[in-house]
Subunit: 317 residues, 3 copies
């Protein structure tokens, strides 16, 4: 079966998930992003690569933050951007997802950036638009499944600070069970040949059989920190904090919150990452979040460049 | 009394309704739309016709779908587009419709695209801005009154597939009573000289005295289909389905839903149209909606070109 | 202590409040606005001054009207504009104001236009982004504190119609207590050397010790009107009308509503201003609002030019 993300020439047709994405495609995206980092620092932050293209932000699940990053990226590429929050519109009128997609395709859309609460929705859309070779789908987060641009910006950040994936120890800490960010990053790290990927968290927040993804499991965070080059803290969703899986946010912080003390167990030059938005005092201490080893804000900067790269590559294929 | 849609030279000043629009104005819009169809298929879908113009989408009634079509059309003409959902803003602060209009006019707006639940609101606005000859109003749907760009795209579609209006039989089926789409199309068809326009539906969903519009009335859909060149299915609003006018959605489908069986009564090359969004299984069967005689998605494509044409013509007058 | 609005060269770095703004900075803004008035009347209302810049409208408090004026101004300067209504997004996810700001700064934002229900929020943001010299903050209204672009457009309007501030009598009438518009205008008028600034209203709607701002207090509106060159009517917020501070909207209108009768007490060429949106029949009679001495709509026009001027000056510094 052909990889639904690649076209007949093996080039990126859609970005749906990092799982199964060839190593050279990932490297191409990271390299291209590198050239866009320069552009976002210029006085005139605009290139004409997507001029006259129509990019639709289809957010079936509300997320101003993620929508903003894609909107900026597309506008800096000179695209026309249309924002659609679909929960309040056609969906309310009872139109099906695929009828909405057919309609927008008929308007000669060039790209759909899709956020959806259901895992697999972007795949469904990509399969549905197969007859439109100039139409590209970017997954901006689907259910618990994948968040590939976040995974790619995490990879970009790691490469920027640590260069060689094949010598790294990376710990992913917290609510791995509900995290599409974690899943995308783990697939990216293993594809790039990272020898030591760890997941750290309580049993109730780690997926069953997570070891099959090629990671080592730690329930004791102190153990999990030892010798790490990078620590990726995950957001603990507010709704989990009140749920039956956890005793309390305070208890969680004691065991799995990243403090200066726990960070001291990692390598001296270890970097600290977080996809945002942070719960300060829940999964991360402010002293660490704002400390010298935090690269949380550079992640945001690289995120724009990575999204520009993905869009530019798709539009060129 | 002068036609409020035309300026002193008989050119289009506003697009408020198809009723009373001269045949040559309609033909000019359709011809212009034809040239824009080509542009929307190009790699760079952008022309500078509205560069530096400010287009305001004034949606007093929510409609992401229609707003999107105007937003794309305006952006592909290089306009600056400002979206205003007015129910949640000034209206909440108690400002009157005409004070809002005065304000936006004072900001040197060039075009208002108006959607309003009250019939006549766009006319009211057009009359109010008479002192601003460079300001144009486009009706994007007002109450049960008119939806002229939808009517024009329906005409474009009919001309595209059937060429000559003066030889056509067109059936408009379903909830004609509440449909501004139906009203606009019927006026357009009679203006273009269509000899046989039919409305098909139960008594409770046809306006009293609809024959005066120059149409033939059918309560039996099988009769209404016979020999038709085109069938325009209307959306049955969800709120009607539960109302006292109809027994049930299932019953409605049995009598007035378009199935392959009923479609077989029309001419063999008859086309099937629908303004969207569709209620599959209520007014139209999926086999027909997605079948070889459906031109529902081309209607959407032509709709962008028609809206670009209307805006370009207005801005030039 | 250095003025937080000015950079090391004494140039405008942020626009937070008119209080303490040097006279020559105000004059420079008004002069620059004058040149933009011409542009907004041109056929192509667009200049490339902010091309490739990212302007974020950060509205923590909903205001379509004000947001629209900034959005138009920024688009006519060719900026990329991103609208964020923050109450419904990150804030809901529990992210702090300053984390949001850090994030957007990391995306290489160039300008934040901030509206916030809390007085001082724009100052807090300006202080927080001190490390980003290319990032500018514009206060679009904070609590009861300031609304400097409104104050500046009021000054522009006064200068346009009356030329010399040093000979003027200006009355500010109504709910001064809750009005950031009044506060900004009063500071602007005193800075520009206006010898006679009056506040007119009931005790319950005037701030205690308002005389210290250099104004004269009138509780009798007839007295306050005598010999005025300009009358600035303030909006009476709907929530006040039902509150304990006022007997009723009708009573208020009798005492403090601007009627033709009361206006006749001012100078024969006095102008009438209002920041909008108006409560007709509460603080102002329609005959006056729409009468020959009203400059309420020119205020709106000048408001776009003033906002363009502020943004252009900030981006150039």
């Amino acid at each position: 079966m052909r990889n639904p993300q690649l076209n007949a020439h093996g080039e990126l047709q859609h970005l749906l998930t990092i799982e199964g994405l060839p190593r050279e495609v990932i490297v191409h995206i990271l390299d291209t992003a590198g050239s866009f980092v320069g552009i976002t620092e210029r006085d005139v932050k605009k290139v004409p690569i997507l001029r006259g293209k129509s990019v639709f932000n289809l957010f079936f699940e509300n997320s101003t933050r993620t929508r903003t990053t894609f909107e900026i990226a597309a506008k800096r590429l000179s695209a026309d951007v249309i924002n659609l929050n679909i929960n309040t519109s056609s969906a309310a009128k009872g139109e099906s997802l695929l009828d909405t997609i057919d309609n927008l395709s008929a308007m000669h859309a060039d790209m759909f950036v899709v956020r959806h609460a259901s895992s697999g929705a972007p795949h469904l859309i990509a399969r549905h638009v197969e007859g439109h070779p100039h139409l590209h789908v970017v997954n901006a987060g689907d259910g618990r499944h994948a968040h590939p641009t976040q995974g790619l910006l995490d990879l970009y950040t790691l490469r920027h600070y640590k260069q060689d994936f094949t010598r790294l120890s990376v710990a992913v800490v917290g609510d791995v069970l509900h995290s599409r960010v974690a899943r995308s990053l783990i697939h990216g790290l293993t594809t790039m040949g990272t020898p030591d990927v760890r997941v750290v968290g309580p049993k109730t927040l780690l997926p069953e059989g997570v070891e099959k993804l090629g990671v080592r499991v730690f329930h004791d965070m102190n153990e999990g920190m030892k010798g790490c080059d990078a620590i990726v803290m995950l957001r603990l969703q507010n709704e989990r904090m009140k749920g039956p899986l956890l005793p309390s946010a305070q208890e969680f912080f004691k065991s799995y919150g990243l403090t200066a003390e726990k960070l001291a167990l990692a390598k001296p030059d270890a970097i600290v990452m977080h996809p945002g938005p942070m719960n300060r005092g829940v999964e991360i201490d402010s002293a660490v979040a704002d400390g010298p080893r935090s690269v949380i804000l550079p992640q945001v900067t690289f995120g724009i460049a990575v999204r520009m790269a993905v869009m530019a590559i798709l539009a060129g294929n």
